[in-house]
């Protein structure tokens, strides 16, 4: 077997039973307690949410909680590569980066934590973690349903960040958050960016924050060492695509279709030429996403010269539509492996 699992699905309870052994969690609790004006109960709620990984309803924290970012453990922050590093490392090894997407909290955050460990162990180069949103206008039916389940199960931003704080130090690949802009605006861009950094997140994809609007968030992203990945599409004119490629961090995200997320029967043949066009204007890695679901799709895209493939809806389906979380993780593993094996 090429990939050993770091944690089996059944280990959820054991990993969450001793969270205080983890230095970052200890410091989170210690840091949180004395913050003036922050009710102790909230600190406990946040700490216990992190500890139990239950989709606990965490009282939304005031800005003060997130305003003071915890210093990252140097070892952890150095060990996990940036998104750009992970992408160029894959390219240097002649690999096409494997970038799976899952929705945080679907069906629950404990399962999401396990799925992150699993995908990392299976050789994901970057993992895209979707923050559930009530009105995901760039998403098709599968991810809409997934977000709805996650929200119903209590996946608040606080709870997701708490889960990530525990899990990211165990991973070898960077995690990128995919979030619509409203939850970021609501929390405050600075506060959200600080929370993401503190949770060990390396980058952000904001589907409704196009190139023209990124200055609304860029400063905060830079201050918190978050790479802001920008999207270009078949409907993007060449000049604009050039600007986007220039400004994108981590990699350039090529949306393969004119449309929302969700599996398609075939890969859009325009992707081949679009890859060439983008390649002419940037040295950055290019990853292709939206509509990709089969081993044939990923090998096709790899042949066309993409540096990475992003698999969303099809991945989410394995996990979210299974009869049980355990079954979902099993299906996710088999599916992810089939895609990974189809890639160089």
């Amino acid at each position: 077997m090429a990939f050993a699992l770091k944690a089996s699905p059944s280990s959820t309870s054991s990993s969450s039973s001793a969270p205080s052994n983890h230095p970052r969690l200890r410091s989170a609790a210690a840091m949180a307690m004395p913050t003036p004006g922050r009710p102790a109960s909230r600190a406990v709620a946040a700490a216990s949410a992190a500890a139990s990984l239950e989709p606990a309803v965490v009282t939304p924290s005031p800005d003060s909680y997130w305003r003071a970012p915890l210093p990252l453990t140097p070892a952890a922050s150095e060990r996990i590569p940036t998104v750009a590093q992970a992408m160029s490392r894959a390219r240097a090894h002649g690999k096409t980066a494997f970038i799976p997407y899952i929705t945080a909290g679907d069906p629950d955050l404990g399962t999401t934590a396990e799925a992150l460990r699993l995908l990392d162990a299976l050789g994901a180069d970057v993992i895209e973690l979707g923050m559930p949103f009530s009105d995901p206008s760039a998403d098709g039916a599968v991810i809409q349903a997934s977000a709805k389940r996650a929200l119903a199960a209590g996946a608040t931003t606080d709870a997701v960040m708490a889960m990530l704080r525990e899990v990211t130090p165990e991973l070898s690949c960077p995690v990128v958050i995919f979030s619509y802009f409203n939850p970021i605006v609501r929390r405050g861009t600075r506060s959200f960016a600080a929370a993401a950094r503190e949770a060990g997140v390396k980058g952000l994809i904001i589907p409704d924050l196009p190139y023209d609007e990124i200055r609304a968030f860029r400063k905060e992203a830079i201050q918190n060492s978050l790479e802001l990945v920008l999207l270009t599409t078949p409907a993007t004119p060449a000049e604009r695509m050039k600007e986007i490629a220039k400004a994108s961090e981590g990699f350039v995200y090529l949306v393969s279709v004119v449309g929302v997320t969700g599996a398609r029967a075939n890969v859009n043949p325009r992707v081949k030429d679009l890859l060439k066009e983008i390649r002419q204007v940037t040295d950055k890695e290019i990853a292709v996403g939206f509509g990709i679901s089969t081993p044939d799709h990923v090998s096709q895209i790899s042949e066309w010269g993409a540096d990475g493939v992003i698999i969303g809806s099809a991945m989410v389906k394995q996990l979210g539509e299974a009869d049980s979380p355990r079954e979902g993780l099993k299906r996710l593993e088999a599916y992810a492996r089939s895609l990974k094996n189809a890639l160089p």
Binding site: S137, D158, R186, D208, P210, Y211, T232, V260
Partner: protein, 468 residues
């Protein structure tokens, strides 16, 4: 007598009226974004010849608000901090194209002539400014003093609401863009009906997204849309109301952007929609100014309109934003009450956020999830609001308040009984606000209320609540 309070215009103002009428009545100006940045004098503005703007496109309207130069919107489509284009990258080029077409058509004589003709002969403009004598009587105090109530009769437009002003202009625009397929979202069904109507008129394919719950409470309008040849697609996501229908329309547009024009029905959404839809509705305020001058030789003192997304309110307000002596009041839906969790009072209770493409006030929870709004009126049952309203609220230029479902129902009945006008439930919110407003107004103050739609579509809903 209330009627005696309507003064005859003085000879001087009559001259002004004549002058202003000659310029303004070329409703050709409906599409024109004024190039010179502001009006210093109302009548002068009316007399100013309409000026081509294509050369300056996309130079936005700039207005002097509270002494400060504020562009509405600026080149980025912002009203202060509100507005912008928060949409998937796939739509960005289409929005740029749309903005360019909008500005170019402002200078296209053929287009303007066609639009003018249709507004007059098909829509039935201009709509009357009607003195509501019995409502006025109703709000008189014991000593016989009180405000004078006028209704701007947008309910008399073809299809029964103001929505047609925008739909007809955007359909013409879509034809110019070479797009044969039209999509739209609808809440109460009025925008859907208006869109289906203009698609029938211009031979365009039409798909309307409507929340499943709204389809039930506005069954009559669903039938009308289908009768007009539109395909009505039920949206079951979320609360199955207007917000979900809008999200679904955006998804359709993202998927079919190369062949499809999205006729957004309010002053919401990404730039250029808030500006463009306002420009297509500003004829409401322009006519009101002229009609007021004609009837009493002055301006209205107070403007009142209901606000969901805010298109009928912006249509009435826009003309008067620079007239600091004109009070602007928007009335939102308080549902069961703004202190319950069942209301749609976005400007009263919302927080700044991004929904459906623009930064504005949004009803949302502490985690940034959009809250399911509630209003008895499907057209106001929306958790967002047009960005320009958020701007006008924040700078203090317009006031916003709310009335409950029950207050709206009472006004629905009262207006039917007193004026023989069955108003839409949306409009009933504005009418209900007269109960709060009128007792505070001095004698003879002239209130113009935008009677934005007729209530035939709502009799089924109202019959469940009203004992008549």
């Amino acid at each position: 007598m209330a009627a005696s309070a309507i003064r005859n215009p003085s000879p001087a103002s009559a001259a002004a009226v004549a002058a202003s009428r000659s310029a303004v009545s070329t409703s050709r100006s409906i599409l024109r974004v004024p190039a010179a940045s502001r009006r210093s004098l109302v009548v002068a503005a009316g007399m100013r010849p309409a000026k081509a703007v294509a050369a300056e496109a996309p130079t936005p309207v700039a207005e002097r608000v509270n002494g400060a130069e504020v562009a509405r919107p600026d080149a980025m489509g912002r009203f202060g901090k509100f507005g912008g284009k928060y949409v998937p990258e796939t739509l960005m080029h289409a929005l740029t194209e749309l903005e360019a077409a909008f500005h170019a058509l402002a200078d296209d004589q053929d287009f303007q002539t066609e639009l003018d003709g249709i507004l007059k002969d098909y829509v039935g403009r201009e709509s009357p400014l009607y003195f509501a004598e019995r409502l006025t009587e109703h709000y008189k105090r014991a000593d016989g003093t009180g405000p004078l109530i006028y209704l701007k009769r947008e309910d008399l437009n073809h299809t029964g609401a103001h929505k047609i002003n925008n739909a007809v202009a955007q359909a013409l625009l879509a034809k110019r863009l070479g797009k044969q397929r039209i999509i739209a979202e609808t809440g109460a069904g009025q925008h859907g009906v208006a869109t289906a109507t203009v698609c029938a008129r211009f031979g365009l394919q039409c798909v309307i997204y409507m929340g499943a719950q709204d389809m039930e409470r506005q069954a009559l309008n669903v039938f009308r849309m289908r009768l007009l040849g539109a395909e009505v697609r039920a949206v079951h996501a979320g609360t199955a109301t207007l917000k979900d229908a809008t999200s679904e329309a955006i998804r359709d547009w993202v998927t079919n952007v190369e062949t499809t024009h999205y006729i957004l029905g309010s002053v919401a959404g990404p730039h250029p929609y808030p500006m463009m839809v306002r420009e297509f509705h500003k004829v409401i305020g322009k006519e009101t100014r002229r009609q007021a001058m004609d009837k009493w030789g002055g301006k209205p003192d107070v403007l009142v309109a209901c606000v969901g997304g805010g298109s009928n309110a912006m249509g009435l307000f826009h003309e008067f934003v620079d007239d600091q002596d004109v009070r602007l009041i928007g009335v939102e839906a308080a549902g069961h009450g703004v202190d319950t969790d069942k209301h749609a009072a976005t400007l009263t209770k919302g927080e700044v956020g991004v929904l459906h493409g623009s930064l504005s006030y949004v009803l949302q929870d502490a985690d940034g999830q959009v809250i399911e709004p509630h209003s008895i009126s499907a057209g106001l049952d929306y958790p967002g609001v047009g960005p320009e309203h958020s701007f006008l609220r924040d700078i203090g230029r317009a006031e916003y308040d709310s009335v409950t479902d029950q207050e709206a129902l009472d006004a629905f009945k009262r207006t039917s009984r007193l004026e023989g006008i069955i108003p839409a439930l949306e409009t009933s919110h504005a009418l209900a606000y007269l109960e709060k407003l009128c007792p505070t107004l001095p004698d003879g103050v002239r209130v113009v209320l935008n009677c934005s739609g007729r209530g035939d579509k709502d009799v089924h809903t109202a019959s469940k609540y009203l004992d008549v």
